[in-house]
Symmetry: C2
DNA sequence: CGCTATCTTGAATCCCTTCAAGTCGCGTGG
DNA sequence: CCACGCGACTTGAAGGGATTCAAGATAGCG
């Protein structure tokens, strides 16, 4: 079930072929992209690009997870988004990025030289249409997260985060296997607008309440999904999309 | 300097002609839009569309201000964005809206039937390109606001908000005229993730510190712009875009 | 002129943070 | 093999900033 990504395979075998900026492209358009792309791998913890840096490439995450974040002068940092496979880095039409981008795990990127990509946006409607779709989806997800940051309690924030991790975990839920937190306590805290101590306390509290169990510090199983969803503070139907 | 918007004028005289979804359109494309548009006015305080409602139109704000917000079951409300002239409501490709949209002032919309607009997105690259641009800008602004919601103190939030109001006020600053808060204390609170009492206290505090003076509850003048900008918590260069 | 919505201000409370100490797991090297 | 060190995490206690609850002031409007 898990594709092993191989750079030598063509776009046709790319794991994000049908979700990335190229999703709407036909074979002809894809072959143009094929000639333009280059891959780059960034190791866990390494910066991908800093806020304000000149943006030479527009990239898509092929594998791994990256974070978008901003740090205030005094060190407070807020993670404003996680970039999962198929998400893109950089905006056509902008010369710099507005946030720091960091590899949370090892990350492989599929990159296009920015100027060339901007030309593609002009010439290939399927590209601008797809980037539009993706940007609108991200926008909705970002606004959803604003509700969490502005109005939810620590308990609700943690529950929402866990529920999100469970919902979009690639590992099938029915298999009964534990899920894995992709972030450290500190990274979770910076994503939720909390301190790492509060994150730790809330996770312990949910464990004590029988909502979760932990196999180790990263791996957990949900014991009571209904309780978890109740604790998010959201309506039954409306969930985070991210 | 202030255009009086007149529905009978053509798109050529529209006050948002060069900023809205039609910005990149040429005369021919514009004449197509001309035949499709309809106007609607919503009074201050009235809902424009509720979260989850079927979205029959894609609209642009021509004049006035609208808010995007979400309310949790227990009444906590978070404003996730303000819609100013040229901003659009609704996403091509989505059948519903994810947030409540409310007229903060009297609002005039320029509307397109959603299905027709989606067809335009397919057929007219200038439209999808422009919507893409706008969505990417909104996305960046939303993430910027996430930093505020997640990490800034009440004082910093208020300073950032005031600074934003001042920066994009249509009334020229050099005229020395007072600026006007477009929102009530409660609306400001819901935008900043605070309570209305805290907003009031912080405004009083900034008044006491000689940063601002108030002519009345809505109209104010900045006395010390440097102090205001210092208080935002942002770097000197990096500002909110919204 | 008084009604009402909006806003201000005060006092008490609370949730989260801050500061601090200690635990756990793991790789490294003696 | 185990001591050691280190990063990640947990837990406790104290403190503080924002909220909550409450009372009163102000301004707009019929």
């Amino acid at each position: 079930m898990n594709f092993v990504f191989n750079e030598r395979d063509g776009c046709g075998k790319c794991p994000i072929r049908h979700r990335a900026v190229c999703a709407r492209c036909d074979e002809d358009e894809l072959s143009v992209l094929e000639g333009m792309k280059s891959y780059k791998t960034i190791e866990q913890g390494e910066p991908i690009i800093w806020r304000g840096d000149d943006l030479h490439h527009i990239s898509s995450v092929v594998s791994g997870i990256a974070s978008l974040s901003r740090t205030l002068e005094d060190g407070r940092t807020q993670v404003v988004g996680l970039l999962l496979p198929s998400d893109f880095i950089g905006s056509p039409g902008r010369q710099t990025v507005d946030f720091d981008v960091t590899a949370v795990t090892d990350v492989t990127l599929c990159r296009f030289e920015r100027r060339s990509f901007e030309k593609l946006v002009q010439d290939v409607p399927h590209i601008s249409q797809r980037v539009m779709e993706m940007a609108l989806d991200e926008l909705s997800a970002a606004r959803e997260w604003m509700v969490l940051l502005g109005r939810k309690t620590a308990r609700e924030k943690i529950a929402t985060f866990i529920e999100m991790v469970v919902r979009r975990d690639t590992v099938p839920i029915h298999a009964g296997q534990p899920h894995t937190l992709p972030l450290t306590r500190e990274e979770i805290a910076n994503f939720l607008g909390l301190t790492l101590e509060t994150v730790s306390r809330q996770l312990s509290s949910m464990k004590k309440d029988g909502v979760l169990t932990f196999e180790d510090r990263r791996r957990f199983t949900v014991l009571d999904l209904a309780a978890l969803q109740d604790a998010t503070g959201d309506d039954a139907d409306g969930g985070i999309i991210v």
